[in-house]
Symmetry: C2
Subunit: 212 residues, 2 copies
DNA sequence: TAGATTGTTAATCGATTAACAATC
DNA sequence: TAGATTGTTAATCGATTAACAATC
């Protein structure tokens, strides 16, 4: 019903609205929200209509009420707990990134296969042996997993997570995961993102050089 | 001409091909590459056709030759140097992430406004005062910037980078940047990515609960 | 040749955009 | 009322998918 892109934008709208509430803003127009979110006004209205929320003509949307409605639809991400597999540089950064935000993902533990990390604490979270992954995930009833292992190990890691009952994966490894239909995978490829920017920078530079 | 999505996929293809070369694979079919990249075979062929590369029937694509052609089109990301603004948890992680990969972005320096960080080293890179940003960026001829500052400071940071001559920005702050037409912005919003996964996990859980 | 693959063309699908009537 | 905004409908655009001819 509601598209995946809309889900992502609603998440952004909610955070923008929370920011506005701190400034005591009461109402907002689709045009303003679109400007903040980097979209268009009709798009914002369509997104909100898709979750059954209506604004009122001439006064737009009530900031607090809209934030509540989006939360009612998206649910509370802070109520979801997860685990992270791969306690390298990126893994540690993700842990501290999410730990420093309030209504955010609770990462209960990290997993790694490096003996020097197993048993230690990583950014305040315990780091366990990957061999214990299935057991621990099932024990805590975790349904969300974050993958920050090298590309070669990503599929095996995904398989383990799914086997243990995880139904949502945030994958930072640059390889696509094959998972059952009921499992959702969100893919974040930092290297691709960076290379896209590098490409446009280089083509821009070339254009300038040719013009000169 | 070539779509932005294709640019991103070509980046992934190149890395997958580099991996295959280490295994001494000589040729590959669109179907196999699609499986690795998480796409479809016609899509892979279309992407390659869009950069003027042709395979041969019955033997597919030459791995080394294709990797070369993609590199000829995308350019060398390792030849691009950049700076990062914001030396917090995420900023440090990004520095170490890109530093640990070979043909990757060279981040020359970090910038921050925290006096305790200015003058220090951050993951082997110097950390300078944001006030010096324009001067330093112009001095080194940097054209790529990474933004890892809080949302409130993102637009100002982007303005400074653009003013100093940056034409490509990798933005990790959850707010859209307004930039001139000749500047390319790639947006990575980790919180949105995570909340999308959390949403699908929760809706999955609800469905299961209702079924039970 | 037979079989599998590639490149090309047409059809489909989805999302975005534009135009307009309804509303406060 | 006048003006600006919302929700709705139709048109456009782009990318993906499917079907097919060409090729080794």
């Amino acid at each position: 019903m509601v598209s995946e892109k809309t889900i992502g934008r609603l998440s952004l709208y909610r955070r923008l609205l929370n920011g506005l509430m701190e400034e005591n803003r009461r109402n907002i127009y689709s045009r303003e929200l679109a400007l903040l979110a980097g979209g268009t006004a009709p798009q914002v209205r369509r997104d909100l209509m898709s979750i059954g929320y209506s604004g009122s003509t001439a006064s737009g949307y009530d900031v607090a009420d809209l934030a509540d409605s989006i939360s009612g639809f998206l649910g509370n991400p802070g109520g979801t707990s997860g685990v992270i597999v791969g306690a390298g540089n990126l893994g540690r950064a993700i842990i501290s990134y999410f730990a420093s935000r309030r209504p955010m993902l609770k990462l209960l533990a990290a997993f790694d296969n490096d003996p020097s990390k197993i048993g230690a604490e990583v950014c305040g979270r315990p780091c366990w042996d990957i061999a214990e992954l299935s057991e621990k995930v099932a024990e805590f009833g975790v349904r969300l997993g974050v993958i920050t292992v090298p590309a070669e190990a990503a599929q095996e890691t995904g398989d383990r997570l799914v086997f243990a009952g995880v139904t949502g994966i945030l994958n930072f490894a640059p390889s696509r995961l094959r998972v059952p239909d009921n499992v959702y995978v969100e893919h974040v490829d930092l290297t691709t993102s960076m290379e896209k920017v590098a490409y446009f920078v280089q083509s821009n530079t070339q254009r300038r050089t040719l013009e000169a």
